[in-house]
Structures are given as structure tokens and as C-alpha cells.
Symmetry: C2
Subunit: 584 residues, 2 copies
């Protein structure tokens, strides 16, 4: 087994193990499978839930709250967000076998171009590279069509009218942005505040082939954090400022290097590497999350995206990457400074005001231009429409009015031609009690499925030729295995009682009496069960059991009645294995 | 306020309260809203999660495990399941204003027909009723088109090929059925076992208008329980057999009555009211769930569906209904005996064997007919093809062969005409070690959103003209409110410390210092926070706080250090409010 595995990379091993043990597998296998869709089995669904709960725990301590919005949205939402325009990938079709291929991936594979290089290319650029290098269909060698863009959102219609286009959300963020007004009100009209959403999202990839790493349907964890750009103070800075971050900066990348800049959060802000303090703080939390999932610091980095690699809404983006065996560095979370882009766009598209008002500590006096309709002139000129015109003028921007007068000598107001003599542009001193502005947003965004994958790959260990999934104990899908030493003499009954007691205490427990105790331990190690409790003949006499540690295979012994309390402490990371009983 | 509310039904009140306090609201309001889509705010998302976790808890104790499959499925899945053929609603279009209307709902509204009556109607039947009664467009009075069926699944395409149709799942059940082989293997090839899925589902309703009761995107909780129809013994029967059920039986309904038959689970099975023991057991668990969500027994019933009301896959269905103020009895869960329908269909459509093998306790001897090729006759007749024919005969059913011989005097095997003399039909005694069969399925299926709605409606109470959401304490979205008596003299700092301590202990806590303590209590009552802890001047001296009960407004006092342990017990329903401290 070990020799076989030497020739396989971990991606293959993990996928095989995941399928066999029921963590996950390609969905719809009986119909040949569909690329980009997975089903999580019992262990995988539990692992995924525990990882998502860990994200909830870490970010809710920072004050983030959670909502749940739909996956399907009307077209308008993703027109406003810019996705209809930007969420697309270049595609070519083989003119011979009719296969459709993602063009940038094709160039990366055929010509070893980097993704950073292909992301710069326009459709014309792609065509030019294809023609110059004679790139052909990788399947049949046929000639390729002109490249065109393929919209990578799932499209549907909502209700019985065919013009009511709907899209499957490619990100959960928009479900938060469109509800901003209500969420702000529920936050009692105060900034900053952050809202999280965990749920399925859809990206209609052209030809996904990377297991959990690239899915058409996946689970996204989007956190949108709204703050005042003039007051970006971060309340949790004290907790994170000394946390170390490993940055691969854009300036380093532009010099063709991959050197890591190691800094604390505080230094990253002082040196201007990260623009927004809250973003830096969330990057620190993201790093801690991955450490808690079992990925050591030196297998993590934050890569700053180059301007042309960034999403259309972002002013600064870092991808948190984890090193994995087959693919090298892969993204597990993105940290984007989305500015006021999304709220501004929804304001334009919906007409609903997304500005917030923030009171100054004390009001300030400012000079402001105002338009004063001269009724003595307007009256004679426009008769009984003068009053209406005066009202309309109150909506006109004084600056716009002045420019028009300067350039054309008049200002067109609806159907009326307004001359300089009709209006006086006056300067007033007014008290301002606060400012109105669109909040800015910084966004940490995690892919649950990728977190599951890296947790699995980093849990994977070999000991004495046997596989152990060494999950951190607080994310292990099953916490405790319960085993009768043998299947007779009342041991199974005693073990079943113990199992039921532990379930009633809220633990996730597996009972197993099939095969030798050694085989059962091995099975438990391979599914990552941290503790095994064995009921033996001693148990019938004195109510003690052995407890076995998955990673060290050490055993301790203790009375059953002492277990619930100790086990709760153990899984809350408050005590260690050795505290669970006396060494055997 | 109270007088106003007298004129409103609870549906209106709950929706208004839900919107104002952030439980839920119609999604995409800034774009005019889209019918059938809601967004859950912070309180609603928490309430929904807690309700879903309660379902998990109740059913996992019965051994049910959970998986997570995709929402989008390839067409084949829903062709096999029968949904493409059956999941549709009759629709008419107004020839004048072009409005599209669900035809059965129109007849229910215009002619006061019952849903049980309209469900019987074919398209022709609907047309006949419309013509006979002169039913017109309810919006503009225009004439209506011929009725036609509208497929109520969301349709999309998967990937870049336009023929790769995909559907949004209208139920999560199929995601379990298509993975049956793998799930059975993971259950170590043993029946019975049950698999749950909780996730979003999509039904493209023609014109939904009932808030959380009828959504286009909703959360479904489907539990598929696989069992041997010849061994339907239920392992949890002892726990549920004395549980009372209120049944409205089909036979009662057919007599035009609504009388409830009150029986225990055991009686319902003995009298044959419920065909499958596991189904009866799950109905008992469903009843307990609703009681725990705050719906008393006498506001629940199980209505047996009439044959034409049942889904295409069901042999017996009960809907668990809850009485609500505006709509009367509404379904909150369905309990269907799906038999082997789904697995059989997927077996037909995929060609994958869905049968399981069950060993007998001891092998049995059975008589079986076999075909014995008579080589002495076949040889001369078919020369060197005789051997091939002998092999082909081993695949032929002896019964089919005999029938053909009896009726036609020969049997056509491929291109060969086989005569009686070529084959002897012998009877052999063989040992059978077990049987092969397709497992049967009984399914409890809950709508999360409806559970949220009824939990809200039943939590709604008025006390001294004030609103209280009296959630059972274990589903309350926020568990504890923390309040400084006044916003000065160090009380807010002390209260913040307390808040942080409680959060670290894992409680959901809200801190509020805005307004008088009375107003803060009122706000907390309206959001359903079971306990309020107030920090006052005493606290600074002796570290004691008052704890206030949401429902009785009683107060007790205790030391802060005693709280974590007591509160954990209180929220696990192990102690009562009076145990939390000394009466004030």
C-alpha cells in the first residue's frame, strides 16, 4: 500500500480515501457523473459543518453577524454588480470535434503561460497567440474557432414570464449589498458593522477538473464589512496587531520574484502594504483559522493580486494561499477592498439612496453655493409656471448651473431655458451637523470546499504504514469511537450503553464491533476519530474503560462516570490526552 | 397599538414584526422585490439554524445521518424521478393583459372550489369549469387562454453546451436516491438506515403570494429512510409507541368529514391506519418536534392525502398540519411511503443495480425451474452454433420459455427457432442463501421556512399591551441580553466584561445600553430574548447581577461567577428560571 502511494500525489490519495470513506465524491456517478459537482457523504458533511462553524466562531467574536439570502437573484442584481458584464471566461470551440475549451487554460497547458500572463490577454490577444503558436484542439488536433466570452453564471427564468431572467449567485456578497439599507437600520444606523453569509453559490465553469478545488456548485463564506473610509479604525486591532503575516507583494511579483515579506499586521499597515486596517485584521483571523484547521504558518501566504488580476470591484486584493501537493499554491480565501463600488452601483441601478449620515462631534460651518430664483424676473418670463420652475431649481446642482451659464450662456431645465438674470448664485455659510457618504467595504471570502480539501490534505499522515487522518480534534467529524473488546459476554451491551450516554451528552459517536480490535482502531484512524474507548472484561467489574489516542496510539484508563466532564474539556481544547486518565 | 392589531391577522402582524426586527423580509426590495424569495436577517437566520439543529438532534438520535448534495442536477435525474413529467401546475394566460395565472388557484378563489376538488381536474376539466362559469382574468376581466401545464422546476444549462439541461432540485430526496449504492456501502451493506439532507430547494411557482408559506426558494429537510419491506420492524418503536397522534383519515375525508381520530402510534399501526411502522415513528418525532417549537398538540394534525392528492411516487401520505391564524391548517411536513419507486426508476434510467442482498439466517431450499439444453438434439439441428445456443438459453426465463412453447409450439431465441425437443424444462432443488430486492423508502420531509413561520406565530404573545416573542428557550435566536442599568459610573464597562465572558462561554448575547432600562427590556421581549442580565451599582460592590425572565418578568439575583454553569443548565432545559438565583 505504501509503495503504491509513493507514486501517487496527495490529491489522488485524498480523493480515493474521500470516496472510500464517504467524505465526498463526484455527484451523480450513476449517470456518469457531472464535472464540478460533488456530494458530501456523512463524514464530509460533518467536517464541512464543523469548519463552517469555526469560521462563524472566529468572526462572530469580531462582531460579525450572519444572514441568509437566496441563491437565485433577478438579473438586475448582477447587472448592477457588474457580473453580467465581467463574469465571463474566454472560450474556443474545436471546429472538428466541437469540444468547447476554456481558452486561457488551454494556453497555460499548451504553451506553459502563467495565469497572470493569460489574464492580461483580450480576445484578440488570445487569437493572436493561438495563431502564432499553431495551438490546436488538445483532444483531436482540430483547428480552433475564434475565441469568444462565455458567461459563467447559471441562467434561468423566474416564474412563467420568459423575460424574467434570473441568475444563480456566483458570490453571496450581493445578497448582503442589496439589503444594505435594512441591515444598516438593524445595526441601529451605526458603522462599522459586518455581515456574513454561508451558502451555496454557482459558477458555470467551462470544464472544471480539479475536484473540490474548482466546482460549479460550491459553498461560499462571504463577509462584507462596512466602514467609514474617513474613520477606518479597527476595534479588534489590539488582538491581531502582533500576528505575523507572510505577504507576497505586488511590487515583488512585478520584479518577477516570489520572495515573502514577513511582517506583523501592525507593520503591514505602517508600511502601507495593506491599505485598510480592517482588511489586515481579517487576514490575521483568516491565517489563524487555517492554523486551527491544521495548516502550519509556513504553508500559508497572502499573494497580492496585480491590477489586471483583480476582480472588477476591487482596489486591493490579497488571496490567502495554501501549499498543496499537486497544485502548489491554491487560493482558500480572498481579501478584497471593494470600496463603495457595490453600494454605489446598486444606488445607480435601483435609485435607492445607499448613503449614510454621520454626525460630527460638533457641527461645523461651511460655505456652500445656492441657487436663488429671482421671482421678479422669473414671474414676467414664465407667468404661472414660475413657481414650478423655482421648485425645480432647488434640485439643480449650483456647480452644474454655473458651468452651463459659463459655456452656453443659459441652462436648460426640462423644457425651460433659464438665463443668468433669472437666478442668483449666492454663497451661504451653513452649519453642517454631519456628512453623508456611501460606506466602504472590505471583504474576506472563503471557499468552504477548499477549506475541507486542505484540512484533509494536512490531516493526512502515515504511521507504521498505516493512514491516519490527524484532524485537529475540534473539527474531527466523529469525536469518539466506542468498541467492545469482543462481541460476546455482555461487552457489546455495555458498550452500547456507553455509546448512548455519550450521544446524550452531545458527542458524535461511532459504535463498531466488526472485526479485531486492531482492525477497528485502524479504521477509526483512517476516518480521523480522535479518541477510541474500549469496553473490556475489566469494565464489567469496575466500570473503567481504556481511552486510546489516534495520533500517538497511547492509552489511558478511567472510570466511565468521569468521562463526560473530561471529554467536554478535551474537545474544547482545555485539557490534553494525558489528563483523560491513568496510563495503561 | 393593541387596537390596531385587533384588526390585523397574525400573518400580517408577524410579517411586519419580522421585517422591523430583522427576522426576514422579501428579498431584493430595492429592485421592487421578487415574489417567493425572502432574506433572513440576523434574528431569522439564527432562529432558522436553531430549528434545523433541533431536527438534526431529534432525528440523529434515531440514527439518521446527514449528507450534502448539490442543488443543480442534470436533467436525467429528474426525468428518472418523474418530476419532468409530473412536477407541473395548470396555468392560464389572460388574452388581454397577458397575466399568467395558476389555474387551480384561480378556480379556488373565483368559485370557492377546494384544493382537493381542483387537484382532480385535468386540463380539459379546468377549461370546462372556466367556460361553464365564465371565469375571467381577476386583474382586468379579460378572457383566458386554454389552460396548459407549466413546469415548476427552474431550468438552466450546465457548462457551455446548450443541450446539457439542468434543473434546480425541487426536493433534496433525489440527491440521496442517486447516491444510494455508495450510501448503502457506507452503511456497511445493512438495512435499515436513514439519510437526511437540509438545504435550499427551488420550485418555480407561477405566482407565490404567501410569505414564508409558499416560496420559490426555500429550505427543505428531506429524510429518506431505507428499509426491507419484508422486515419493517422499527428499532425506535418502544420510544414512540405510546405517543398520541391526531389523524384526519382519508376514509373520514371521503365521507366529507373533518373528524380527528386520536390514537397512539401503536394503535395506528394495529388498526392499519398507517402502513409502515417507521413512518408512524417518524410522525411521532415530527409531532414532538413541533411541540418543542411551541405548537401545542391540539393545534397539530396529520391529514391523510387522498389518492389523487398524493405525489406520483407515494403509496400513502400524511401531511403534518399546524393551525395558523390566516390560512387555517397548513402543511409543515409530509410523510410519504415512497416504496421502491425512486430506486427502481433510477435503476431503469441509469442501468445501475439498486438491489441489495440480504442473507437468510439459514439458507433455504427452494424448487426452481431450469432449462437444460439437449445437446444430442441441438447438435444435429444447429451444427457448430449449438454451443452458442446452449449458452444463450441459460439467460432465458424458464417460465417465459414454457409459455411460448404452450402458446406457439416454439420459442424464438435471437435468429433461432427452438422446439420443445431441444430443451428439457427440469425442476431443481437449490439452496438460496438470501434474497435480492430494492429497498423501500419512507420519507419525512419538512419545510424549514414554514417551521420558522409557525414558531414565530406561536411565540407571539401580548402581555400588558406589549409584544413578547415567547420562543422556547432552546430556539431563541439570542439567549441573553446584557444591560448596564445606566450608561455611566463604570456600569457599561462592567457589563461589557460580562458580555465578553458569556460570549466566550458560547452563549449568544446582545448588549444594549440605549434608552431606559424599561425600553430595553421591552425591545428584548419583542425579539424573544429569554433572559436579561442587568448590571447595577450593587454589581460594582458585590459582583451580583439581576436576571430577568422574558415571560413572567420575574427577577432573581446571583453572583456572576455562578452564572456560566447555571445558564448552560438552563438552556439545556435542565433547570428552571427560579433556580438561577434568589428572588429580588
Amino acid at each position: 500500500m505504501k509503495n503504491n502511494m509513493k507514486n501517487m500525489d496527495k490529491f489522488t490519495i485524498i480523493n480515493e480515501l474521500a470516496r472510500r470513506r464517504g467524505f465526498f465524491w463526484q455527484a451523480y456517478e450513476i449517470y456518469g457523473g457531472v464535472s464540478g459537482f460533488v456530494t458530501y457523504g456523512v463524514l464530509g458533511a460533518k467536517l464541512k459543518q464543523k469548519i463552517e462553524n469555526k469560521v462563524r466562531e472566529i468572526f462572530s467574536k469580531a462582531g460579525i453577524v450572519e444572514i441568509e439570502a437566496p441563491i437565485i437573484a433577478p438579473a438586475k442584481v448582477f447587472e448592477a454588480s457588474g457580473h453580467v458584464e465581467n463574469f465571463k471566461e474566454p472560450m474556443v470551440e474545436c471546429l472538428k470535434c466541437k469540444k468547447k475549451i476554456r481558452a486561457d487554460h488551454l494556453l497555460q497547458e499548451a504553451l506553459k503561460m502563467s495565469s497572470s500572463e493569460t489574464e492580461k490577454l483580450s480576445l484578440e490577444g488570445i487569437k493572436e497567440v493561438i495563431d502564432r503558436n499553431g495551438v490546436k484542439c488538445p483532444e483531436c488536433g482540430g483547428n480552433l474557432s475564434e475565441p469568444r466570452y462565455f458567461l459563467t453564471m447559471f441562467t434561468t427564468t423566474i416564474g412563467p414570464y420568459s423575460d424574467a431572467i434570473g441568475y444563480g449567485r456566483p458570490e453571496a456578497a450581493q445578497g448582503i449589498f442589496v439589503e444594505f439599507r435594512r441591515l444598516y437600520e438593524l445595526a441601529r444606523d451605526k458603522l462599522p458593522f459586518g455581515v456574513m453569509q454561508i451558502g451555496h453559490a454557482l459558477r458555470n465553469e467551462i470544464s472544471p477538473r480539479q475536484g473540490l478545488i474548482r466546482l460549479r456548485e460550491f459553498t461560499i463564506i462571504d463577509i462584507e464589512f462596512f466602514f467609514d473610509p474617513e474613520d477606518p479604525q479597527c476595534h479588534i486591532m489590539k488582538d491581531v496587531e502582533d500576528e505575523g503575516l507572510r505577504l507576497l507583494l505586488a511590487e515583488t511579483r512585478l520584479r518577477g520574484l516570489e520572495d515573502i515579506t514577513e511582517v506583523t499586521v501592525g507593520e503591514a499597515l505602517n508600511k502601507g502594504y495593506i491599505k485598510v486596517p480592517w482588511q489586515a485584521a481579517f487576514m490575521a483571523l483568516a491565517k489563524r483559522l487555517l492554523v486551527e484547521l491544521g495548516v502550519p504558518e509556513n504553508k500559508q501566504r497572502f499573494i497580492e493580486k496585480l491590477p489586471w488580476e483583480r476582480a472588477h470591484y476591487s482596489r486591493q486584493s490579497f488571496d490567502q494561499e495554501v501549499y498543496v501537493d499537486r497544485w502548489g499554491w491554491i487560493e482558500v480565501s480572498g481579501h478584497a477592498y471593494r470600496t463603495d463600488y457595490d453600494l454605489k452601483r446598486h444606488m445607480q441601478f435601483s435609485g435607492v439612496d445607499m448613503k449614510v449620515f454621520k454626525e460630527y462631534d460638533c457641527p461645523i460651518e461651511v460655505e456652500r453655493k445656492v441657487l436663488k430664483p429671482q421671482m421678479a424676473r422669473l414671474g414676467p418670463a414664465f407667468k404661472n409656471e414660475a413657481q414650478k420652475i423655482a421648485e425645480m431649481l432647488s434640485e439643480v446642482s449650483p456647480e452644474e448651473f454655473e458651468t452651463s451659464i459659463k459655456e452656453k450662456g443659459h441652462y436648460i431645465l426640462g423644457n425651460y431655458k433659464i438665463l443668468p438674470e433669472h437666478v442668483e448664485v449666492a454663497v451661504e455659510r451653513v452649519k453642517e451637523t454631519g456628512r453623508r457618504f456611501i460606506p466602504h467595504v472590505t471583504e474576506p471570502s472563503f471557499g468552504s470546499d477548499r477549506l475541507v480539501y486542505v484540512a484533509l490534505e494536512y490531516a493526512y499522515k502515515i504511521k507504521n504504514d498505516r493512514v491516519i487522518l490527524s484532524f485537529p480534534r475540534d473539527i474531527a467529524p466523529i469525536q469518539i469511537g466506542v468498541y467492545p473488546l469482543v462481541s460476546k459476554d455482555g461487552l457489546p451491551e455495555k458498550a452500547q450503553q456507553l455509546r448512548q450516554m455519550l450521544i446524550n451528552e452531545g458527542f458524535t459517536v461511532e459504535y463498531d464491533e466488526a472485526g479485531s480490535i486492531g482492525r477497528r482502531y485502524a479504521r477509526a484512524d483512517e476516518t480521523g476519530i480522535p479518541l477510541g474507548i474500549t469496553v473490556d472484561y475489566e469494565t464489567l467489574k469496575d466500570d473503567t474503560v481504556t481511552i486510546r489516542d489516534r495520533d500517538t496510539w497511547k492509552q489511558v484508563r478511567n472510570r466511565i462516570e468521569a468521562l463526560p466532564d473530561l471529554l467536554h474539556k478535551y474537545f474544547r481544547m482545555k485539557i490534553d490526552f494525558n489528563d483523560l486518565g491513568k496510563p495503561v
